[in-house]
């Protein structure tokens, strides 16, 4: 149905031409779902955009052909291509909220597409849009059709994007990271829905994702890409059980999964023995009856309701939950950037909540609690070199920034010394993460709050950063409060785990036990929603 032969794409950049695709071949048969898996820069999205002829200015197809149902897609004029897009081939995107026009009603946006492809007239557009919304199982579609994207949740927006893509019954659906940024249970709901729709309508699909687990759950065949080339293809099972290419092997290893230990995420040659870790009995942090209520026009919002937990010295506590569950509010209060409404934060015997957050920056105890932020790029000052970034806390709260200390920190986090004088945009994602960690541990803190520190990283980089965190903990005896929505990562890194929902703790206990035998229905649904790649050696099944 779709066949791409020898596709090569080149981007003109300021630093000269860059080959984004180097001769990619792929075929999608009728009724088949093909998974395209790779890390950032592998060319998986560029492949999709080239098929749709939606490459940005600067990107050009230099070789190869894309044939769809026998038609060479380089032939049609831009206008004819518009007839194919949406009606024959459709696409859904990551970040659904941004993918919708923020100031146009969702019904009108679907109506635009329907009218473009003569599926509706001005008078029938609204009724047809409601049907399209009902097709993606949006409840109360007649009311939602008049909503603006900002009035809908992320999962709901993605359903609208799907409705928009499927409104004109295309034969092929290309999904570009369709669930990135969605909660884990929403991800499952959305993917199950798309899979159903694809099957019911006899469509074909391409699923582009960085998540091998997700791809293996929904695709008939998977191809693995790296640096603009296809390195391996096969069925999910064959890929997982007998990967041919060393890169596939590394990717599978790096994917957090059931039964794997943290060192096993690394390539075989990098698996150093696990360092000895000491968890002491003495509590470092005791949070007692923490409450945070935000006032709002429609009454008070109870973001955190009566949360209590303890972190011991050298221990890692995982804080898990979906967006809006209060985990970020909780961690902001613990890191003393936000004042609790009531409750105590007892740190080494003293109640930190007694010092207002506005004055905590000058408190000597500020140095004892530090934070590693979610987005390694956005949390670094773009005009500071790594050295300046790491020196900042040393100068402000420490005894001064000596070059020796900075070099020592860079060494601890595995940042090569020459990179110390580079700016963030000259560093890779993993290197930026290392700078962020070096900054956080510069003052020898007792407690590090890790706010989804690996969420924006590729899996292979995530594997390295997680292992780095474990090594640092063993060497420095730091305690971690690890905030995340990724249960597979929690299982790897955490001793204890807290599951939050609606501002309250619904379950807590040793991580392994909570993951294996969740006591509450909510935790069970979270665990079930996490995509699980088939474990290596599952060939028997």
């Amino acid at each position: 149905m779709l066949s791409v032969t020898n596709l090569a794409v080149r981007f003109q950049t300021r630093r000269g031409p860059v080959d984004a695709l180097k001769g990619v071949n792929l075929e999608v048969a009728s009724g088949e779902i093909l998974g395209v898996v790779g890390e950032s820069g592998s060319g998986k999205s560029v492949t999709a955009y080239s098929i749709m002829r939606l490459l940005e200015a600067g990107g050009k197809v230099v070789d190869g052909t894309v044939r769809y149902g026998g038609v060479d897609l380089s032939d049609p004029s831009e206008n004819q291509m518009g007839n194919i897009r949406g009606r024959e081939i459709s696409m859904i995107f990551q970040n659904p909220r941004a993918a919708l026009n923020p100031i146009r009603r969702v019904g009108d946006q679907i109506g635009d597409v329907l009218r473009r492809h003569a599926r509706a007239t001005r008078t029938t557009a609204k009724a047809e849009a409601i049907k399209a919304l009902e097709a993606v199982r949006i409840r109360d579609a007649a009311a939602r059709v008049d909503a603006y994207p900002f009035e809908l949740s992320g999962g709901m927006c993605q359903r609208v994007v799907i409705a928009l893509a499927l409104a004109c019954d295309p034969k092929l659906l290309i999904m570009d990271e369709p669930t990135t940024g969605l909660d884990i249970t929403t991800q499952k709901a959305v993917m199950d829905l798309v899979a159903d729709l694809i099957r019911d309508r006899g469509m074909s699909a391409i699923l582009i994702t960085h998540d091998l687990g997700l791809a293996s759950g929904y695709c008939d065949r998977i191809m693995v890409m790296r640096d603009g080339e296809v390195v391996e293809r096969g069925t999910p099972l064959s890929l997982f059980t007998a990967p041919d290419h060393p890169y596939t092997r590394r990717l599978i290893d790096a994917t957090p999964r059931l039964g794997a230990r943290i060192r096993e995420l690394l390539p075989v040659e990098a698996r150093t023995p696990m360092p000895e870790r000491r968890v002491e009995n003495e509590p470092l942090l005791e949070v007692r009856n923490l409450v945070k209520t935000f006032p709002s026009r429609s009454g008070p919002v109870h973001a955190v309701r009566d949360v209590s937990f303890t972190i011991r010295k050298g221990q890692t506590l995982g804080l898990v939950g979906e967006s809006g569950c209060g985990k970020s509010t909780t961690s902001s209060m613990v890191v003393r950037l936000l004042d609790p409404t009531s409750g105590q934060i007892i740190f080494r015997g003293e109640d930190l909540a007694a010092t207002p957050a506005s004055r905590f920056a000058r408190d000597p105890r500020r140095a004892r609690i530090q934070m590693v932020f979610q987005d390694a790029t956005d949390s670094l000052n773009p005009r500071h070199t790594s050295r300046q970034t790491i020196a900042e806390p040393l100068r402000r709260l420490g005894t001064g920034a000596s070059n020796d200390r900075i070099a020592e920190l860079a060494d601890l986090v595995g940042l090569p010394l020459p990179l110390l004088d580079r700016f963030p945009h000259q560093l890779s994602g993993g290197q930026k993460a290392r700078v962020g960690i070096a900054r956080a541990i510069a003052l020898d803190p007792d407690l590090l709050i890790l706010d989804e520190p690996t969420a924006a990283l590729d899996v292979s980089i995530q594997a390295i950063v997680l292992n780095l965190l474990i090594d640092l903990q063993a060497r420095l005896g730091i305690s971690y409060l690890f905030v995340t929505h990724d249960l597979n990562v929690v299982r790897l890194l955490c001793d204890q785990v807290i599951v939050m929902q609606g501002g309250a703790i619904v379950e807590q206990g040793p991580a392994e036990q909570v993951m294996r035998n969740p006591a509450t229905a909510y935790t069970r649904s979270l665990v079930a929603a996490a995509p699980q790649p088939p474990a290596l050696g599952d060939a028997a099944q």
Partner: protein, 341 residues
């Protein structure tokens, strides 16, 4: 009461402290300026005694707080005082002069938008093209030539050399009679009166100063349109629209342009407010009886009442303008609620 109306009323209420502040600052600043209105009023031949007498009749011998109270009392009664240079009540002067400035500024801005917005859109849809460069050249030239210079050049070309334009002396050639005053805008008043000849005459007078001012205001509007449009065109939702097969026109206008309007409206508001106060030079060059030249003349002779009246009128205008912009926002962008928060 509808939430929108309540929101508007709330915004107006928010403006009250601003106006109070303007009243105080306007009063203090005029008193702080060098110059003595009594000396000016008394004329060149006056002696110390007559100056003192005039000072007494003007109430300038009283202590400042008392003067202020009298001023505020007058304001509350709607009395802006009397201008000592024109001899007219300030309210009458403002009523004459403000429409002249508003007419000039509004026509100039309409003209400017009519050119700058399409230009910015075209430049953004074809970045790096000929039209993009043409846009840049025009915009740079417009903003780098001072208005009094472009004004004089335009007069030289169209009045002196070509003889197409009427003499640059005010709002209406002396052979025409002012239209009956309804709004104070000559174009509107003459149109309402059905007087086509006066309308054309007023329009002829307006063209050159409006073009001068428009050239100057082209730059910020065109630049902002281009930047906002570039941003909107590279947004994810434009990609979605294109992937769904929508045509270039729909994508450009229904999707990108409406989203790009918000920063353009903001810029428009800023440009309007600064032009209204800053078109003194244009008014001077074209002998336009506007509020800018009125204020400058009043300032030169320390005409307290006139300066204060001008400052106050401007403050009211800005408050109204900001309100208008806020309301426009809510019309463009449903995300911006108009609630009293």
């Amino acid at each position: 009461m509808s939430p929108r109306l309540r929101g508007i009323l709330f915004r107006i209420a928010q403006a009250i402290p601003v106006v109070i502040g303007v009243v105080i600052i306007g009063f203090v600043l005029t008193r702080a300026l060098p110059g003595d209105p009594a000396v000016y009023f008394a004329g060149a031949a006056a002696d110390a005694a007559s100056i003192a007498e005039i000072r007494k009749t003007l109430g300038l011998d009283l202590p400042l707080p008392q003067q202020f109270l009298i001023y505020v009392g007058d304001l509350l009664r709607g009395d802006f005082g009397q201008s000592i240079s024109t001899g007219q009540p300030v309210t009458a002067d403002l009523a004459n002069r403000l429409p002249a400035s508003l007419e000039l500024t509004l026509v100039a801005l309409l003209l400017s938008c009519a050119i700058a917005i399409p230009l910015g859109v075209m430049a953004a849809t074809r970045p790096g093209s000929l039209i993009d460069h043409a846009c840049r050249v025009l915009v740079t030239a417009g903003v780098s030539l001072p208005t009094f210079f472009t004004g004089v050049v335009l007069i030289y070309l169209f009045y002196y050399l070509l003889g197409i334009a009427p003499s640059p002396l005010g709002r209406l050639d002396f052979i025409y009679i002012e239209p009956d005053r309804i709004t104070g805008f000559y174009l509107i008043d003459s149109a309402l009166a059905g007087d086509g000849e006066t309308f054309l005459a007023a329009l002829r007078q307006l063209v050159l100063p409006a073009v001068t001012l428009a050239l100057f205001t082209l730059a910020p509007i065109a630049r902002m349109t281009r930047a906002a449009m570039l941003g909107a065109l590279s947004a994810d939702f434009v990609r979605t629209a294109r992937a769904a097969g929508l045509t270039g026109r729909t994508v450009r206008y229904t999707y990108a342009f409406r989203n790009a309007l918000l920063p353009v409206v903001t810029t428009l508001g800023m440009v309007f407010s600064f032009t209204l106060g800053a078109n003194v030079l244009v008014e001077k060059v074209f002998a336009w009886p506007g509020i800018g030249s009125y204020a400058v003349e009043a300032l030169v002779v320390s005409d307290y009442a006139a300066v204060q009246g001008f400052v106050l009128a401007m403050a009211f205008l800005f408050v109204a303008l900001n309100l208008l912009i806020d309301v426009t926002y809510t019309l463009i962008d449903p995300r911006i609620g108009f609630e009293a928060s």
